[in-house]
Homo-oligomer: 584 residues x 2
Amino acid sequence: MITIAERKDLIEAALGHQPLDLIIHNVRLVNVYTGLVEPASVGIRHGRVVTLDAQDFQATETFDGGGRYAMPGFIDTHVHIDSTLVIPENLAELIVPGGTTSLFIDPMEMANVGGFEGLKALVHSMDSLPYRILIEVSSRVPTAPGLETTGGELGLDEVKTILTWEECLSLGELDPSKVLGLRDEYLAKIQAAHALNKIANGHAAGLKGHQLSAYACGGLADDHEAVDYDEALARLRVGLAILVRDGSTERNLEPILTGVVRDRLDTRHLMFCTDDKHPDDIRKEGQIDYLVNRAIGLGIPPVQAIQMATLNAAVHFRCDHLLGSLSPGRWADAVLADSLDRIAPSHVFFKGRLVAQDGQLIARSPSAQYPDWVHHTVVVQRGKQAEDFHLKAEGPAAQVRVIELYPDQIINRIGQATLPVMDGCVTADPAQDALKLAVVERHGKNGNIGLTFVRGFGLKQGALASSVAHDHHNIIVVGTNDTDMAVCVRAIEAMQGGLVVASEGKVLGQLALPVGGLMSEQPVSDVIATLEQMTATARQLGCTLPAPFMTLSFISLPTVPELGLTDQGLVSVRDHAIISPLMD
Amino acid sequence: MITIAERKDLIEAALGHQPLDLIIHNVRLVNVYTGLVEPASVGIRHGRVVTLDAQDFQATETFDGGGRYAMPGFIDTHVHIDSTLVIPENLAELIVPGGTTSLFIDPMEMANVGGFEGLKALVHSMDSLPYRILIEVSSRVPTAPGLETTGGELGLDEVKTILTWEECLSLGELDPSKVLGLRDEYLAKIQAAHALNKIANGHAAGLKGHQLSAYACGGLADDHEAVDYDEALARLRVGLAILVRDGSTERNLEPILTGVVRDRLDTRHLMFCTDDKHPDDIRKEGQIDYLVNRAIGLGIPPVQAIQMATLNAAVHFRCDHLLGSLSPGRWADAVLADSLDRIAPSHVFFKGRLVAQDGQLIARSPSAQYPDWVHHTVVVQRGKQAEDFHLKAEGPAAQVRVIELYPDQIINRIGQATLPVMDGCVTADPAQDALKLAVVERHGKNGNIGLTFVRGFGLKQGALASSVAHDHHNIIVVGTNDTDMAVCVRAIEAMQGGLVVASEGKVLGQLALPVGGLMSEQPVSDVIATLEQMTATARQLGCTLPAPFMTLSFISLPTVPELGLTDQGLVSVRDHAIISPLMD
């Protein structure tokens, strides 16, 4: 929090009694408060904007904006930073040149792996990054108690403690089962957020009708799971703001905003998030800049699209006195661009410092310093042998439940298949795209393995595996045969976390993610190159998904309908119960 | 704060597992989140909305909305409740039938009279009112330390304590002198509000240019002192929201909104307040309903005008999870009306209870119970004799400073006049409308009397006086002669506070305001009748002002430019210094 002395200094600087650190002259300011574009000269002191009229002020440094547009830095309102597969230090080069200067993160991945200490390890270097990380404290670690095994937990007291942190803006996404199930622990967490005048983020996947009203009665403030305009409108109608999500596998922006444009819906309660986006996709498309430009392309007026990426988010998260606009007293996070028709940031300032130019990060990132234990979180008791993946059944064939994937969504539906039984075990059948799916407990706790089948990957041979598996982050593995699945698990344990593609008993590609089994400390370009290679390899094995490892990491969710797979078995999300992969 | 048990009950009710208390069927809901008008059936349980789709639900009571429009109850975002001259219990009948269900009050009047205890006395009955009072805790009691004598004070610790109250939404209006003057005490109060994630209300009368930027750097969130569109836009531009004010003497709505309509300015950061409005004006015009209808009349689309009166305010004050919309989980404060072209509330619900119908309050108000000391706050040491008002000067005439009033504004300008000196004392000169103005200390502390002259009242004979005199609430008296001024002061002491009009040594009219010297416990209709009579009497004495007692009560402000008069003398507001009424 700003000190009184710092506050005085800003006031004095605005009055011209203190020299400025930087003036960005000659810009056309996109004023997100008035909605107007105006000529301005942005004066900055100690990282904060102090005036928009610094024409005649003294400054240590001046910067000629060259008549470009200037707008506030972009905000990602809900992102699992670990989904980028790189540590926050290295993520900077992927997101900052595109204009993203604030990430509101739900650190549930590291919390699931390492609890309170894991969360602290993740955010320990926040202050030295060339962008801002603020926290949506994970409301459910574990997500589905009794249905999954996690490495760590965040209890009510720990959540309450983190909520008091200045860096913590909200209670993180809370799924309907906890709210509609009237669970004291979770309702108490909502109370705790409200008592601190902070909001509680929602996660209302698939919810509608009376259940949606009941969920809003729970005190949640928003939802980022709306997949189309009808769902978005239904949520807005009951007072839930919409975090328009467009990540690697969850592409909701176009269906939502097409409706918004058609109906000229008020956009003030809309903002952007990526939730989960792989580094290759960020490099290819961009991050929040991509969402802003997609919105503009669909017909949202540019200033409104910018407001969605900036002030709307800050107001919703009740931090508009700190960020979200280029206004006196707020952080000087600024993006310059030549055009508003398609925003291609030429310069990005973070806290008044030029941190990126022409698509390149120019701020030096701090070197990563994670505690040693963070690199040793993968302990596998079972899953290293093909036999561990056997699913026994009688007769020549078995009727099984299959998780059917939707393209571009993380929701799925319940399907079924008739699969051959060989030597008393049900086998995958690539011909009908019914592959075996397993989740192997990897926190060294019980050696559980959950089994079922999945349709949508299209693999004709081999197996893929990942130690990123929401939200429990055990090892999830999909395969055409048990041998390759075991090969993958052994490789992941050897790397202490990561992604693997294997076939015919051999590892064909692997990406080590030794930070919590979730993130790499390697340079982003290496991570992307490896990931692209592995995706290409998966494609050679028959896989038809654009981001197979991202998709894989979500089938393990016990909270997104209709089915999820954890180490404890196949979860019927709506019933919040384990069901058998074998049908009667 | 809602308990977990209550929260569960709402959720259950929304799911249809608990009966509703009330269903308002058959309404066209003005949905302030989507901006759309839609058919709805509003289900209410324990005072809160739980669903908009209660068509098929069970309820103890049902109400046929008759196809009327339904909208959230209106919010006055900044009001000095004492300016209505009636106690909160009696105010209900004036404001609730017009649809106002929430007042955000700055209780600085009672705090100036009685400090922390005065504030507590004022709000003690809040919970039983048929409308809601929330607090903007007074940031400056006294307003101008060293320039005025008050009865009570609110120190930093007391302000910090009140800020933690759930009923307290913000730090109340803080004037520029404290911020630009870099005063630790006041900057610490802003910090305290921000630390609790609450906002700090501004009061940027007359501020512009670099001073306005510096003020925004102070961490203030808004301003209600913008008098025209240019001022409003200048404030919005630096990130200060606009509380569009229209009270008895401060009529800013039309000039501001005319520009907003012309420029199609985004209205999301605009909301309404009355600040100070006398009961006769409320009865005649209405309260927030009047502002909404004026806005619509000027061309603001009705749904936007309603948003300004409801959700915009709740979002700005960070209480949108509690009120400001008819959404599940929020208080069921609802207004029904036949038309949106001119909103004439037919029914008003507060916390799910029908409290007003067809312009009449039907909820019983609690009886007033104020502590005894509140009725004994006027102790006058000097000011009861004509001599107390003598202003000595030499020669036959004196050059004096005159406070020149602006019509419909509380700001004023510095004027001057040449006045006759008789028997060594400067006298008023009604012929040039230069009347004597005095402030008499009435808290029993020092017997101070401040003197100067004023132009704008137009009195040809007699005197007017008031113990409502912002913000110190000493006795302010304007007169053509010293004798009548002393008559007024004696009458006010006898009533323990109030308003008086006198002429030729006789009291011609008086209104007792014995609650803190600020408010009456008499029925509103009696108060209004007396006030109207007194205004008529003042007019007979030559007074040309529409609301002379309201105007009188503001000239005592040491914080609104250019001049103010306190018991300590004539205050040059910008210099924050006492100056002589006599020119060199």
